[in-house]
């Protein structure tokens, strides 16, 4: 048996050894996230010869690039706003609408699938539905004589892309807002109604302010999500719609802007926009968690 009189050998952890455990992870992040991103950020402020300049950033402020940012931002705002609204309504219907609890689990699973079903296949699904020969397009034309095309609708347009993006935006909103709606205690509603509040007053003074940080934060997340989406846009529109990810894609492939460092600047602009949106998300998330403890 062990000798009980001698003290057990004390394992001493050298601090640097403890940190060494993080080395593989740190190295991976450094090599494949931090350095590549830094390369872009620094490149945005460099000339071809490596000297410092603001020319590339200034170069972004040309009509075509500005308009691509503007369309990108518009699509992102529209798809996240509608995504938030529709996702919120669907989640509220599911959680608070008195519907059978059985629909909840399949809807949440489907949301998980749909929020991951982005990219090229999603574009095809919408082409097959709202494209010139799509299921809905044809159905409306043959059954009701409604010609979507003649009404100005085109899947390869601002609204077409927005409607397509909603396919992953709405489920993402449902996934994030459902726990928050669950966090609304039944007693809050009951307390409010005992105190004489109408349903609308309860929502205005209590429920929406509680949910507001989550909703706004999710909006920021959806915004970044849409802004960075490349594959769906390319597969859907080819290069016919002038949005930032498509332009950047073309620039990386073939330097269509005629200045490699202008590409850096465009990428830097993307990081700036999505980064800002995510900062908003994180700040608001922390605020909402403080209340919903």
């Amino acid at each position: 048996m062990t000798d009980l009189t001698s003290p057990p050998p004390k394992r001493r952890w050298h601090p640097s050894l403890t940190w060494l455990g993080l080395l593989p992870f740190a190295l991976f992040i450094l090599l494949f996230l931090v350095l590549p991103t830094m390369k872009i950020v620094i490149g945005a402020f460099q000339r071809a010869d490596g000297s410092f300049t603001f020319e590339n950033i200034a170069g972004l402020f040309t009509a075509s690039i500005l308009s691509s940012y503007w369309i990108s931002i518009k699509i992102s705002v529209a798809s996240s706003a509608f995504g938030c609204l529709i996702g919120f309504l669907m989640a509220a219907a599911m959680v608070l609408g008195g519907l059978p609890r059985g629909i909840r689990s399949p809807l949440m699973t489907f949301s998980g699938v749909a929020s991951n079903f982005a990219g090229v296949p999603l574009a095809f699904a919408f082409l097959a539905t709202l494209g010139p020969l799509g299921l809905v397009t044809m159905f409306l034309r043959t059954e009701f004589g409604i010609n979507l095309r003649a009404m100005g609708f085109n899947i390869l347009s601002f609204w077409g892309l927005t409607i397509t993006y909603l396919f992953f935006q709405i489920p993402l909103m449902i996934l994030i807002i459902t726990p928050a709606l669950d966090g609304l205690k039944r007693e809050w509603r009951e307390a409010a109604s005992c105190l004489g509040a109408s349903g609308a007053q309860y929502w205005r003074i209590v429920a929406l302010p509680i949910l507001f940080p989550t909703i706004l934060g999710t909006f920021a997340l959806l915004f970044a999500n849409a802004f960075g989406a490349v594959a769906t846009a390319i597969a859907l529109t080819g290069s016919s719609l002038n949005i930032v990810p498509i332009m950047l894609f073309a620039q990386i492939r073939g330097d269509v802007l005629g200045n490699p460092h202008l590409g850096y600047a465009m990428a830097f602009g993307m990081i700036l926009v999505t980064g800002l949106a995510n900062v908003v998300y994180i700040v608001l998330r922390i605020r909402s968690e403080r209340w919903l403890k």
């Binding site: 996230l33 390369k39 982005a118 097959a128 709202l130 709405i170 970044a224 960075g228």
Partner: protein
């Protein structure tokens, strides 16, 4: 909200989600004029390029999963055990790939690891494949890390480790025999998400010029009429299967635990 309004909202929403899937499937079955058939699927399956790109993506997905597990499990474990103060920082870092668009990261890869750089990964096919795998691992990092970290939260890492150490187990034994089995469900969930992400990924593979399933899909979309929809249906089924498997393993362990 009244029940009728709730049903109406839900049904409208479900319609929006079902129609594109319906359209996609309908189109994929319409290759033969006037009747539904699996011709498009047959054409796709007969295409050697499909087999090449599909198996390329499957292999890449499996490699990414193995690499992701080897990277994430020890790190998450170590952070919980020895550096709990760093946990928020590490968690934040793992979320960064959601902030920085993939197209930007891969742009950085191309410029940083080109043939004339200090680490010319893009100079060889093997190097490019490796780079792509790292990129995939980065894309799936937020999901993988979150899953594993949540799994670790349910077990008492410190106590288990001390108990194992007192019995003379080394670090490798602890991680392989003790931690991994306990977070197996979490690891599996993370792996299925990773699989789904890699199979559908387009941007990185396209810009690194690798023959993956995503770029193949896009290429077919530009050139063929019905095959793309069969491919999209296959892609959708893969995503569904991955999510279904996650549900399955989670439910399986819940019953397992309840039975104890």
């Amino acid at each position: 909200m009244t029940r009728a309004a709730s049903w109406a909202i839900l049904l409208l929403g479900i319609t929006y989600f079902v129609l594109p899937l319906l359209g996609m499937v309908e189109f994929s079955l319409s290759m033969r004029r006037g009747e539904y058939s699996f011709d498009a699927y047959a054409a796709v399956l007969a295409d050697p390029q499909f087999r090449q790109t599909f198996s390329y993506s499957v292999v890449m997905a499996l490699l990414t999963i193995v690499f992701g597990i080897l990277l994430v499990v020890p790190t998450a474990f170590w952070v919980r055990l020895k550096l709990p103060r760093l946990r928020p920082v590490v968690e934040f870092v793992t979320l960064l790939p959601l902030v920085i668009p993939a197209i930007v990261t891969v742009f950085g890869y191309i410029r940083l690891y080109n043939t004339s750089s200090w680490l010319p990964l893009t100079g060889t096919i093997f190097g490019t494949n490796l780079l792509l795998m790292f990129g995939y691992a980065m894309l799936s990092l937020p999901y993988m890390y979150r899953a594993v970290d949540t799994g670790l939260r349910t077990i008492d890492v410190a106590t288990l480790t001390e108990a194992a150490q007192s019995l003379g187990a080394g670090w490798v034994t602890i991680i392989v025999k003790l931690i991994l089995p306990n977070v197996l469900v979490a690891v599996l969930s993370g792996s299925f998400v990773t699989f789904a992400i890699v199979m559908g990924e387009f941007t990185m593979a396209a810009l690194l010029n690798r023959p993956a399933f995503g770029p193949y899909l896009q290429l077919m979309g530009a050139n063929k009429a019905y095959e793309p929809f069969a491919l999209a249906t296959i892609a959708f089924i893969i995503t569904w299967a991955c999510m279904g498997l996650i549900q399955l393993v989670t439910r399986f362990t819940k019953h397992d635990k309840a039975g104890r």
